[in-house]
């Protein structure tokens, strides 16, 4: 999926605020931010990191400069192996116009050599927000890998799957074991975009700063 196509779809679906969080890579998230400059839709730079325990962790950043710092850390903590496209598919690079300009041959479907709590601290050290992804899923989630949610952990929120969000009728601002819950569409194809979104009835979450602020206020000590 090219960032250009994702934005086109997101605008069509009337989404106001999105983030592209690829696995252990930031390139397309940055492109989407650049593309959004000419549009009304806002894009938060983000990435889906894999901790040493194979827990997926969403990280959102205030600006491109911050996510570039994260990119350096990712490169540092990845094992430096080559991707096997037969298993994981080709990782294509797109440009702003949506043209394919290359193939990323770094193995990214793999854990960073850093434990979850340290990874959270790292994200915080570059002013980011750290949110364990889809914690209720049976693979690559906080609960599947580490058994339970520690109330004392330093997460800014927890992401639950869209299925659970619907089933349990969650709303923005709801709390689970002290942490605010969020959810995303987790779109892996164009057709998923806009099928799930969170509603912000107060219309207060407009960008990274207001999101960070909202989560901070919602969090229960």
């Amino acid at each position: 999926m090219s960032p250009q196509l994702i934005l086109e779809q997101a605008v069509q679906k009337e989404l106001n605020l999105i983030s592209i969080t690829d696995h252990n890579t930031v390139q397309h998230s940055i492109l989407a931010c650049k593309l959004s400059e000419d549009l009304s839709i806002r894009v938060i730079p983000g990435v889906e990191l894999t901790s040493r325990e194979e827990v997926h962790l969403l990280a959102y950043f205030p600006n491109i400069e911050a996510i570039l710092k994260m990119k350096k850390e990712i490169d540092n903590y990845l094992p430096g192996k080559k991707n096997n496209s037969k298993i994981f598919g080709n990782q294509l690079y797109y440009d702003l116009k949506g043209e394919i300009i290359g193939i990323d041959d770094t193995l990214r479907q793999v854990a960073l050599n850093l434990g979850l709590d340290n990874l959270v601290d790292l994200v915080h050290s570059i002013e980011g927000i750290a949110v364990p992804a889809h914690i209720d899923k049976d693979r690559f989630s906080l609960l599947s890998q580490l058994g339970f949610l520690d109330r004392e952990a330093n997460f800014d929120a927890v992401e639950i799957s869209k299925f659970k969000w619907r089933k349990e009728k969650f709303q923005l601002g709801n709390i689970r074991r002290g942490f605010p819950v969020i959810a995303g569409s987790d779109s892996h194809g164009v057709e998923d975009i806009g099928l799930f979104f969170m509603e912000d009835s107060q219309e207060e979450i407009k960008d990274f700063i207001s999101l960070k602020d909202f989560l901070k206020r919602s969090k229960k000590p």
Binding site: E53, D117, N118, S144, G147, F148
Partner: protein, 114 residues
Amino acid sequence: MKLSKIISECRLEKIVFCTDCEIENGYCGDLMSDVMAHAEAECIWITIQAHKNSIAVALIKDIKSIVFTNNVTVGKEVIKKAEEEKINLLRTDKDSFSVCGEIYCLMEAETAKD
């Protein structure tokens, strides 16, 4: 078998050592739910999962000794929690397969003597 014997025979690094307990069986696993379901109390647990939640699992299962393999980094928080809860933490640069094999052979030899 005394834990201290396993430590010296397998050349394990002591990160936290509080009690030289008696070890009669072991378990190897990295998934908390699996360990909670299958590990026996007071066993020696071999894992790469050096997270604070491992200490909690050890407490629930009454496991007193954990061996972290592959020379994994053990965070301060993990060490502090283990000290508080009196859980022995050991580490090795060997992988789980090798260290399990070594401990297993030691225990088998001990049983044969009896």
